[in-house]
Amino acid sequence: MSELATGVREICDRSGGDRARMMDIVQEVQARFGCVSGEALNLIAAATGVHRVEVEGVVSFYTFLSGRPKGRMVIRVCDDIVDEMSGMRPVAEAFSQELGIPFGGTTPDGQFSLEYTACIGLSDQAPAALINDVPVTYLSSDKAREIVAALRRHGDPRKLVHRLGDGNNAHPLVRSMVHNSIRSKGPIVFAPFEDGSALRKAIAMSPVEVIRDIKTSRLRGRGGAGFPTGMKWEFVRAAEGEPKYVFCNADEGEPGTFKDRVILTEYSGLLFEGMTIAGYAMGAQLGILYLRGEYAYLRLLLEHFLDERRRRGLLGRNILGRAGFDFDIRIQMGAGAYVCGEETSLISSCEGRRGDPKNRPPFPAQRGYLGKPTAVNNVETFCCVARILDQSPGWFAQIGSRQSAGTKLFSVSGDVASPGVYEYPFGVRLRQVLEEVGAESPIAVQIGGPSGQMVGPADFDRTICYDDLATGGSMIVFGPERDPVYIAKRFLDFFAHESCGYCTPCRVGTELMRKKLAAILDGRGEADDLPYLEDLARTVKFTSRCGLGQTAPNPVLSTLKNFRDAFERRCPARQEGRRAAFDLAAATAEAESIVLEQAAR
């Protein structure tokens, strides 16, 4: 047997030939053999009993997986708008020059590949990149050159880390240069916590009472949609079907969001405790933490803390001595797909499929992972759960505003003096946040990331909560020299790249919007483009199948609404039926010269 055949067999055997573990299998094959080649596809298909084309469908779906060999070291430069504003272009240029390859290329010696990648969750220390799993931050073109030189010398991305970050970033299992940049602490997430304290209080109650407490606290999901957590859990508990599952959504892919990164680094105890309480409340025995591929550098740390909890009787069988209370957590790695943060895509991905969203109904609470009732919650939501049990639902409910209880973590980046994570009570005024983060005369703020809305100074006195300016936590601030049309275009680049392609409006519509915005920026805009863009954006929003397509037009719609001048300036009316940008003399010059030449003969 070839080395590949033995290796693939071994990897598949370790997963029990289970097709649901396809993500683990293809990622391991890639890690070991550099890519998932055509031959590997055949071998995996044979070992797991699925069709080759299904495996190929999975591999071709995820950005971090590849059917063709890549360099031993893959440099992925984050091409998020915030990174671009912080000087990413010269950094990218330096990498490209130094390596002697364009983006998308691999060096002839097979050592390096160079790529752009969507936001890697480090907008607070931009420009940043990933080299294999290793994040490198605060890049400059000089640093980029040094990095290439050093990697040529020692070939080990981990050796690039000279100065360690704060807190657990310096943990021997992480050893990363990333900083937490926690800027303001609140009472709920960024507060001291003793492992087991909330869980003890939970198991002193019945599961139904725990859910009642979550409902009393008025906790709503922190992942963006704001669904009441207690109600979701009640649905799952009541749903027919066993076993039930608890999923933690740590896919954090919304550009400009990085608060879950900080929770995972520093407060995983709170998170795991929340998941375990969820398991108790809903009668689930397995929890899955879906960790985005970009955060692979945190995996060993998280595994370590899970082991620790098992050792201390906080996970595993008969938790805290309670006979029959069994619950464990496993980590599922993602592989570079923003859409997998959508809860039904996340489930598809965990089932070893392409990260396509599923049709609803049925909802995951009825039929989720492997067809069983599944509760999917955000990282921060689980932290709130643990704190609610530890303190009390009443205590939690009186923090924040009337409709929005508790605090919210904001990931603040862009044109501000102090980018980082801030914990604020809900109901805080945007203006107050802008002052405290050191935003100087901002012209626009993107609330909730690209899928949220772009607001201007007229909206700065609004409050941040579920029924005013709702947000999953991303807050990107834009200073006076930024261009709203360009920003909208970059966000549409992102959505077009991340669309799963299942449904027509999102697959085609995001690309059409992106290209129209590019044409406008290029000086080819005309007055008709604005109503056209509005119609197109409305159709995509109205007819798309999942939240990605339903929110992808938001940058277009909200900038058209709040920054219309910036568009109108570039989209002049037609003159004599012609585009303003159309140069009649230039277009006919050649023909005219021929005519003149002929006439002269």
Partner: protein, 245 residues
């Protein structure tokens, strides 16, 4: 069997059976809801979004949404038809569709729907993608230029033929219909009589040697618009002249 119930579509009361989607209930009642990826013999898919209706004021795909008692559905409204035109135009510009010399012309559901909804030229810009053709199979060819990613062949091959010859690879605009082989359709167990070949709504998967069998005037949609067969079932509807039989 549990009891039937009623819902309204465009103000008309329609009877539905438990387990039916809005689309199935509408079909049975002789109300045509435009659709492309749905097929009566295949599991609902929800990809093309052409069947989008308003259910109690909110957009839903009629093919994947179960009919429920008392539902208020809007279907044939100017707003919804405008969205549908835009979607169909997206499908036209996304691929390379040249109706004038396509073997499927006159029998093509995409083309027929464009006529029914009154599309003359797309407002969207043509994308002219680079896509491949596969003529390796003795009985069937696949022209990906004309594929609208409806997934009918995927479902038919998997669920009816029991073969799983087709599936999707790639993501976003790079998504393509692909085959269970390295690159040649000839290397799959596909046969000319397979359901997967029959269900393609456009000219992407076609049997060889069967082109232009029906002359102009006797093609599927030459006289009656697509959907006329469904509308003919409506109580009190005037009999359709020809249509799909």
């Amino acid at each position: 069997m549990s009891e039937s119930f009623t819902l309204t579509i465009d103000g008309v009361e329609v009877t539905a059976q438990p387990g039916q989607s809005i689309l199935q209930a509408a079909d049975a009642a002789g109300v045509y809801i435009p659709r492309l990826c749905a097929h009566p013999e295949l599991e609902a898919f929800g990809a093309c979004r052409v069947c989008t209706v308003k259910v109690n004021g909110r957009p839903q795909a009629a093919c994947t949404t179960p009919a429920t008692k008392g539902m208020i559905v809007e279907n044939d409204t100017p707003e919804l038809n405008e969205h549908r035109r835009s979607l169909i135009e997206m499908l036209f510009v996304e691929g390379n569709h040249f109706c004038m010399f396509c073997e499927r012309s006159g029998n093509c559901e995409l083309q027929a729907l464009a006529y029914r909804l009154g599309i003359d030229a797309p407002r969207h810009d043509y994308q002219y993608p680079a896509r491949t053709l596969d003529g390796s199979h003795p009985e069937v060819f696949i022209d990906r230029n004309r594929c609208i990613l409806c997934g009918r062949c995927v479902r038919a091959s998997r669920d009816v033929d029991g073969k799983h010859v087709f599936d999707f690879v790639g993501r976003g605009k790079g998504k393509r219909i692909w085959i269970d082989a390295e690159s040649r359709l000839a290397d799959t167990p596909l046969e000319g009589e397979d359901k997967a070949v029959e269900v393609c709504p456009v000219g992407a998967i076609l049997r060889k040697g069967a082109a232009y069998a029906a002359p102009i005037g006797r093609r599927l949609y030459d006289h009656d618009p697509i959907g006329a067969d469904i509308e003919a079932k409506r109580v009190g509807a005037p009999a359709a002249k020809g249509g799909k039989s």
